[in-house]
Symmetry: D2
Subunit: 340 residues, 4 copies
Amino acid sequence: MKKLRVGVAGLGRLGRVHAANLAYRVPGAELTAACTVTGTGVDFAKNELGVRDVYTSYEDMLANADIDAVAIVTASADHCRQAELALDAGKHVFCEKPLGVDLDQCRRAEAAVERHPELTFMLGFMRRYDASYAYAKRKIDEGAIGVPYMVKATAMDPASAAADFIRYAQAGGSGGIFLDLGIHDMDLMRWYLGSEAVEVHAMGATFRHPEFRAAGDDETGAAMYRFANGAVGMMHIGRIGPHGYHVETEIVGTEGIIRISAVPEKNLAMLYDKNGACTECVQGFQERFADAYLAELEQFVTCVLEGRKPGVTVYDGTASTKMGFATVESWRTGKIVEIQ
Amino acid sequence: MKKLRVGVAGLGRLGRVHAANLAYRVPGAELTAACTVTGTGVDFAKNELGVRDVYTSYEDMLANADIDAVAIVTASADHCRQAELALDAGKHVFCEKPLGVDLDQCRRAEAAVERHPELTFMLGFMRRYDASYAYAKRKIDEGAIGVPYMVKATAMDPASAAADFIRYAQAGGSGGIFLDLGIHDMDLMRWYLGSEAVEVHAMGATFRHPEFRAAGDDETGAAMYRFANGAVGMMHIGRIGPHGYHVETEIVGTEGIIRISAVPEKNLAMLYDKNGACTECVQGFQERFADAYLAELEQFVTCVLEGRKPGVTVYDGTASTKMGFATVESWRTGKIVEIQ
Amino acid sequence: MKKLRVGVAGLGRLGRVHAANLAYRVPGAELTAACTVTGTGVDFAKNELGVRDVYTSYEDMLANADIDAVAIVTASADHCRQAELALDAGKHVFCEKPLGVDLDQCRRAEAAVERHPELTFMLGFMRRYDASYAYAKRKIDEGAIGVPYMVKATAMDPASAAADFIRYAQAGGSGGIFLDLGIHDMDLMRWYLGSEAVEVHAMGATFRHPEFRAAGDDETGAAMYRFANGAVGMMHIGRIGPHGYHVETEIVGTEGIIRISAVPEKNLAMLYDKNGACTECVQGFQERFADAYLAELEQFVTCVLEGRKPGVTVYDGTASTKMGFATVESWRTGKIVEIQ
Amino acid sequence: MKKLRVGVAGLGRLGRVHAANLAYRVPGAELTAACTVTGTGVDFAKNELGVRDVYTSYEDMLANADIDAVAIVTASADHCRQAELALDAGKHVFCEKPLGVDLDQCRRAEAAVERHPELTFMLGFMRRYDASYAYAKRKIDEGAIGVPYMVKATAMDPASAAADFIRYAQAGGSGGIFLDLGIHDMDLMRWYLGSEAVEVHAMGATFRHPEFRAAGDDETGAAMYRFANGAVGMMHIGRIGPHGYHVETEIVGTEGIIRISAVPEKNLAMLYDKNGACTECVQGFQERFADAYLAELEQFVTCVLEGRKPGVTVYDGTASTKMGFATVESWRTGKIVEIQ
């Protein structure tokens, strides 16, 4: 059983999740190298993950590390460039979402992928690998809800993390709430509806932390999409989930509806006390999607080892990015924006 | 459309519920008389319900009021005697549970009912008329769960009412938690299983209010029943429901299970806040069973007017009382008790 | 205890609900007259409700019946005119939604109400009187969710009734799905957000019954609103609820969220069987809102008898109608529409 | 980072789960040996897990393999003997439940553990390591429900697996439904109540598959326990869960109640269709407790590496076994049985 040797690029919050999964939990993989620009990242890689081959330059790692593949978990603006470099260096690529921060980048990444049909490229839309989302897709493909004609999506980061997201907005670079948070919902809409969005109207609101507006972002976003096949998408995203991290998705079909996670339960316990019957909720994406982050990497590794194509392609990255930019434009201008 | 003229006996907490329903909400009935021993009862009947014919003696009302039927909502010890008097006076009888406080009483009531086949007698096990309980019965009769072989019953009065129930226990006369509260669950077990209990083992516990034990009662009761057809009953009753009034019943069958009210929700609203996702709960039997109290009286009136027999008979009263006494004996002695 | 004598106008499906409530279940009211243009309506009034004074002309009833008030449950186009006639005849008015089918009508109704400050006028937005919706309002007023800044509304008629709604659309006069069904959600958004909508963008979809489109209506509607205070409204309405009648509303606030009826449960029973753990759902507005229809009439009668003003005014009718027309215009043109 | 070298004994259904976890998912462990008596087990170990050192004799593995610890997942009757051998050979021991099949065995295992205080012994009550059960324990320890005074436990294997369990019963050796399935609930009662059972009354029922009775077992078991501190335990176990594998536990306290898994959901998706609002359920212990099986091994490995004592001791094994035997005796005799 040959193992896939992977080098991870980026050891921030999510990078560490991926790195630990590669090191300990993905049977077919070995974490043989890491690249990080922070001292704590280096320490983490060496002491927590036992990686001996740690770089501070991505290009260095690509040139020298004993790796078959890279997992790119760096800043969004670097994704496309690093993916291209890796592919041209003959490495398989797992790349975190979003694919890029502008469409030119995305197109260059597409070209790089097309130059290397012998290599596997997979984009990290982890929700597709979550047990509930994957189950919904399977049921829909089996016809359980007839023809899906509407997706209603909600994603709220927990109020407890609002300070982090304010700093994040102030630092710029995230692309704002629609690109950073909403991109997942856009991908899911496309996936479940099997169609592309052709029109969007978005608006925002800030009621608690004026800092979001001051930083040129918004605390809450709302958008309505029309899809090429006539289907409708509705999205509500926000930064101040009072009870925690709330990601809920509903796919409405002609014969049934599937709703995922109406209560973002922390576990299966319910407490009956003076507050009523209460379920404690998850507090962040790491908690909610821990298994999905693992499953997507297992999928990537399996695809490489078995020469199969992953479900999430580079074109999904471009399409969702395009949808994201149109959404931002609508939010900025207050007008309906067509998506070519 | 001739209306059934009803006189209510007893205007305590539950008596007022029945009286108001008869006065305002049961299309086929008219509340033409009332009998109560308290001044506030008299005022309530006259001012709130517009009853002009108010008595302080049950016998007086029976002899003089312009009534076709009586609704007996007096102390448990008086039920059988008053039912017998009413039947012998040619009145239809709606009688609150329990039928009686000993088996001799029950047998005399049975005899009175049998003496008057031309009259309608109905016992007030209101849960059978609750929409959810009636639905469960209908589904079971339709075969939705195959053969029912186990009933698991829970009934907890709200902690907020514990002081009332302590006084109630201290005053005696309620028969204790098993007869007062558990009798409903015993009736439901018999109803859903279609069999009679042949053996019981009961125990009790008091962990918060020692006053219950001091009064010769218990804060919590637990009992396990074996039924003639081999089915099993499990019961948990208590006085300190931390979240409110919790009545939950589960009927387990060979092909399905029906569970009623796992969350005793106050309404359909869920609040997501720092406590998680919470549902506020009902706080008492009046709130939980308001519709059932109305439905059972509508059923009684309809049965009288249409000459049909109600679902809950005098024999149901005797059987549940017998089961209740055996339960109390087991709780007192710590032994398994056979039920003849 | 003087009772309010009420005459009901219209004995269609909903008219009968109101009439029966007035006849049997509203303590302070007496149903003394009815007006209906159908023979079955006359029979129903006489035989089922015991009303002796039945008219086939509204004006006749107004002129001759022994009534203090009217309940108008006729075709939408007649509401304003009949309300005005009643007010000018010195009668209190309970009027079903919508107030009118154009803004001129609404303005005339407003003027009539203003001409008669001594009379009570109430509009029938029954959802406000549903236990769960009223509870949500109370909690919000108490500050349970901080500042409400978004309402997400869903309303789906049951797929089983689609044929009825197709006929209804074909007959015209309903005003289409947005005015007929969505008007309730518009009223609730205004009520919960405490602000008026200033902009709307709406779209529609028809995936199962092309008859809706053919009749100039749509099977599904979606709309997004911006409110004067910056709040956002999102609405999804439809005619083919696969599981039944699904009315769900969520009010999102800075400190909490209240969601009403995520599962439109028929009752409190859950069936565990080969399909999983299932809750049967309600099948229509009559079933879901039976208690609310009663509560709103009780409120109306109480307001008249006690000289209080009801919560739902004639201006609520105008405002929601205005919002409804703007929504229809956006749906027709595909453009964002401002609401003055 | 030194890894704990573990040899697994037994590669049946559950043995493979543990072996795969040790091989791939427990960071601190290495699966260096395996012992199995079946050819398919040998193939699985070599081909699926990459274990080169595979034995067909437990004693052989103990004598020759390069291991620090053993994971015993063999037949219940072998657990104590194999644990003793391993401890005397200087190996740490993870042992699946139940500890033994009679009390003498348990006592010998206790003695072996006491002979080797330098070694770690842990019993595999995996439910304690499930996220929801562990959360409940933590909340209880924090005082969230006051004093726990009752545990209500339900465990139903899925109807779809009944044929397997019939064969299992016919083969003997499982000890019957109370020892095989109920032992988990007995352990949990002791754990949550912090007290030992002093009395049990048990009964059984068979309504669907007479084969259970014919094999000297029962399809359904029910038991009621009295604990030393006055607390009460109620247990319902069965083999024909109509919707799947249903393990539900409720801990009732003076200030709150925690209920775990009232709906044994497969994932977070709900399907609304003609059956109502449905949640698909898990179909077996492997599915429900996959994470718990991993967490308990991680706990074992951490305890060994850090020299800490695991939460589940050999004495927990003896105590639950004692409780189990008394339960079986009560079920056989129909009498209340005291537990010394």
